[in-house]
Symmetry: C2
Subunit: 290 residues, 2 copies
């Protein structure tokens, strides 16, 4: 029988755990964790993400600050704002919502963030520390996937894990976490658009983590019976039956794949809800350290 | 017919190329690249490595400085020496030869090195920048292997590459370089001591990179005819017929595997000689940037 991995419920549980810990900190005279977010411009997706992050802060008992700037902000002004947050002792962690307008060098902005406040885990210092197994802020999506696997008691040690996609925010860090002795301890294969052997690799996988951004890319013929499927895809596909005119599609042909699996994440409600929740965990970690 | 990958000859070619470039820089009024090395104590292996690095500097036309300290040096004194090298404008890059005595925190020393002078590529900033595909100092062994594959025109894009071992200095960075679009562009699998499927993975591999530290671990039954084998192992095994009493053994059963391969690196004379040569390349890169 298929075990549906409920990211929404798991995220709610974790947020309740975080809130309990925060109230205990406050009760013993400590300070509430404080997450700040910089939002540039009015991109619809970014507005939604940032709004949800602010709501998650409330749910966790955090203080939150949203700094908004128009999309004609200069790179220097944005760097100055980052510097102010670095220097502000009341802020434990902060994020700069991506993407940024074209005239701003995103990487320069990311590298301007104090690694100790980089709760997105995008600064090279955190990427590097994570890669060599040192304490670090781990970016939300791969961290959330590992957390889901653990909370559902899915064994990973010695298993064959195939990761589809080699992006800097999912595929690459996921591969590092899954191969580490103190992480997944799995045998990890990373496939991508230039992998002729992708289907064969999938067929042998005990765990497939799909982050390739193509709707319904993983089909039933690619899945070994009993496999665990983690679907990171969130592509908007047109759907005239919805008020919004679209629905979110994962990278997995859920309807046909689910009956084969021992466990699978749905889209939406699987990996997605875990992401913001891991940002909250990172912020709590930053608050403990500061 | 087996193509023997001659690391010694390739390294000599690259050193000659570096020397030619250095002489051109000097002829046009530039400064010779300058590599410094800190050596603590009298470990035999470390003495040899550092001596070879100094010799390689001479071969490349570099200036070199060796700073020696006894193994009772305090951590703070060593950190002060690192700080002096960071601040010394005549030094383009430097290394702290590992291992360090037990009372010194190696990671702390590595993180004290200015990433712009970290020609070993061990600082988390360089590890992280490499992981996300940004310009960085790449550590010598994985960089040397990629260079060997390129100089021998061995196709990697879309090939199945199996890496044995997940160490921070070989397996993990090698996997990142081999999977990147601008790197190997291969389908990469990392196996390790907890991988029950290791032999099966090897049998399907177009390229095997063995860095597991077990003499003759890769046997003929694990190799697909026509595969490319890169042997990173260098274990000392007793050999009474040698004056030294030992010989170096790779991770591959060379005698029986070589006849099957399209290309293979010997031990010694394969990956080993490339390592110091890549340190020289990194030092030249540091000098160009400073």
């Amino acid at each position: 029988m298929v075990n549906l991995i409920d990211g929404k419920a798991t995220a709610a549980t974790i947020k309740a755990e975080i809130k309990a810990e925060v109230e205990a900190i406050v009760a013993s005279g400590g300070k509430r964790p404080h997450l700040a977010a910089i939002l540039v411009g009015h991109d619809g997706g970014s507005e939604t993400y940032v709004k949800n992050k602010v709501l998650a802060c409330e749910a966790c008992g955090f203080e939150s600050t949203l700094l908004r700037f128009e999309d004609d902000i200069t790179e220097q002004k944005l760097l100055d704002e980052v510097e102010k947050l670095n220097a502000n002792p009341s802020v434990d962690g902060f994020i700069v919502q991506l993407p940024l307008p074209k005239h701003i060098d995103e990487q320069k902005v990311i590298e301007a963030i104090d690694p100790r406040k980089d709760v997105d885990g995008f600064h090279p210092v955190n990427v590097g520390r994570m890669a060599i197994g040192l304490p670090a802020f781990i970016s939300a999506t791969p961290k959330g996937i590992l957390e889901l696997l653990r909370r559902y008691n899915i064994p990973t040690s010695g298993k064959k894990c195939v990761i589809l996609g080699r992006s800097n925010i999912v595929g690459k860090p996921m591969s590092q976490l899954m191969m580490q002795k103190n992480g997944g301890d799995a045998t990890v294969t990373v496939c991508h658009s230039h992998s002729p052997q992708l289907k064969d690799e999938c067929r042998e996988a005990d765990i497939i983590i799909a982050a390739i951004g193509r709707p319904a890319f993983v089909t039933a013929d690619m899945v070994k019976p009993g496999a665990v499927i983690i679907d990171v895809g969130t592509t908007r596909v047109p759907d005239p039956t919805r008020k919004s005119g679209y629905r979110l599609s994962g990278d997995v042909d859920f309807e046909n794949v689910a009956p084969l699996c021992s466990a699978i994440t749905p889209v939406p409600g699987g990996v997605g809800p875990m992401t913001i929740c891991m940002l909250m965990q990172n912020t709590l970690q930053a608050a403990r350290q500061s």
